[in-house]
């Protein structure tokens, strides 16, 4: 009888110990999960700070090098709210580098390519009557015309700030879609834009093509492959000495 009681007591205490252990383990697991979440959260914030700092630094370098004397801010954002709030570079003079855009940029030159285009757009919003409202409206109503202008101007800004303008070709080549028709579209075909940039670099900054740092870049190679017809048209223009604009496709 006594031994029976001892066994029961032992079993009860064993269950008690197990319960305690289970509680302790739960607490430990919860603590561990909480801590890892905190660490992960910290890493995300640090990463965001680093990206923001990097984007601001490149953008400001372009502004200073090109003596652009109008104010604009650079913001790295994860949420694309362009559809709700409108084009931030034209309305608030804020250049927003969205998370979806930055993931295409392989190096500083490509980040500079994106920012230089947006800087041109924002600078245009300071032009014209009504403190730039007219300038911004023109960009909104004739995006096709201004798209090519921003591309060319971006090349100038990048070169003066010490970046390689061929990065604009690689960035556009991997980012922008290729539409079927351009006549009814508000945008140019990406191939037309790329050909215009190539022509602009060839005529104004041949140094970068003669000493091509992007020749083995797969995206640049893809541009060369997909632009054979356009480059042939440009070649004819150069060889004939014509000054007329080429109709790229």
């Amino acid at each position: 009888m006594q031994s029976f009681f001892v066994i029961i007591c032992l079993e009860v205490s064993w269950k008690y110990i197990m319960k305690k252990l289970f509680c302790l383990l739960t607490v430990l697991v919860l603590l561990f999960i909480g801590k890892s979440y905190a660490v992960q959260y910290d890493v995300t914030i640090l990463n965001d700070i680093m990206l923001q700092d990097h984007v601001s630094e490149i953008g400001t370098k372009i502004l200073n090098a090109n003596k652009i004397d109008v104010r604009m801010a650079f913001i790295y954002s994860k949420e694309d709210d362009k559809l709700i709030k409108g084009e931030p570079s034209l309305i608030n003079r804020q250049i927003v580098f969205y998370d979806k855009d930055i993931q295409y940029a392989s190096d500083d030159n490509e980040i500079a390519a994106f920012l230089a285009r947006e800087i041109c757009k924002t600078a245009e919003s300071y032009q014209g009557q009504l403190r730039g409202i007219v300038g911004a409206a023109q960009v909104t109503f004739a995006p096709k015309k201004y798209e090519i202008f921003f591309d060319k101007r971006a090349v100038d800004l990048m070169v003066t700030a010490g970046y390689n303008p061929l990065a604009l070709i690689t960035y556009i080549n991997k980012t922008y879609p290729q539409k079927r028709y351009t006549v009814i579209s508000r945008k140019n075909l990406a191939t037309v834009r790329l050909a215009n940039i190539y022509e602009y670099i060839y005529t104004k900054y041949p140094y970068f093509l003669a000493n091509n740092a992007y020749i083995s870049n797969p995206y640049y190679q893809n541009f060369l492959l997909t632009s054979i017809n356009n480059r042939q048209k440009f070649q004819q223009k150069i060889l004939s000495g014509s000054k007329k604009a080429v109709k790229y496709e």
């Binding site: 990097h54 370098k61 009504l130 007219v134 004739a142 060319k152 101007r153 083995s216 007329k244």
Partner: protein
């Protein structure tokens, strides 16, 4: 033996990845020449407010209507008045200064004017980094009355689209245009190095 075979297989697999599309056109036309590295402006210091205006006038009128304007086209300007700095004459009246058409935007629908952007002024003894020189000339901007008209007609489609046929004005730079660029003699000195580490992505 196996090693030799595997090396050959590796070479066979990796060779296509080294196949590079060559830009024969560039190789033919540019590679034989030596080009100087383009101008960069990285050593700037915009602290100084000291500024000398340089008044210019084009030597020959240009217009997007009559002339064939292209990017990179050289244009000549004439200095309108003697330019002094520190009581010394730095540019005499009549000195010819060359500049370049940086970008030319054709005129477009909805009253958008043609635009000529002139920069890269080459002035004797004045470095480019000390100049604030961009000159933008636009044609008649009709957007300011076209857009309200367009918005007013938008509820009656497709009448709003009729405003598309209103074209902006031609841009011209004439001898009457008083062009002013600025020379900042103390710009361009290097900033002190602040040793900030650049965080790589």
């Amino acid at each position: 033996m196996n090693k030799i075979i595997s090396i050959f297989i590796l070479l066979f697999i990796s060779l296509p990845s080294f196949a590079i599309e060559r830009d024969y056109f560039v190789e033919k036309t540019l590679a034989s020449n030596v080009y100087a590295k383009p101008y960069t402006n990285l050593n700037y210091n915009y602290e100084s407010l000291e500024c000398v205006p340089i008044k210019l006038q084009i030597t020959k009128n240009i217009s997007t209507k009559k002339d064939e304007i292209f990017e990179g086209q050289k244009i000549n300007f004439k200095v309108r008045e003697d330019v002094f700095y520190d009581n010394k004459i730095i540019l005499k009246k009549g000195t010819i200064v060359t500049a370049e058409v940086e970008i030319y935007i054709t005129r477009g629908m909805n009253g958008i004017p043609a635009t000529i952007i002139v920069d890269n002024f080459d002035i004797p003894d004045i470095p480019r980094e000390k100049l604030k020189s961009i000159y933008i000339k636009k044609g008649a901007n009709r957007t300011i009355f076209v857009l309200p008209f367009k918005w007013a007609l938008t509820p009656l489609p497709p009448t709003g689209s009729f405003t598309n046929i209103i074209i902006g004005g031609h841009a011209k730079i004439t001898q009457k245009d008083k062009i002013k660029i600025y020379y900042f003699p103390k710009w361009g000195s290097e900033l002190p190095d602040d040793n900030i580490d650049i965080i790589k992505l």
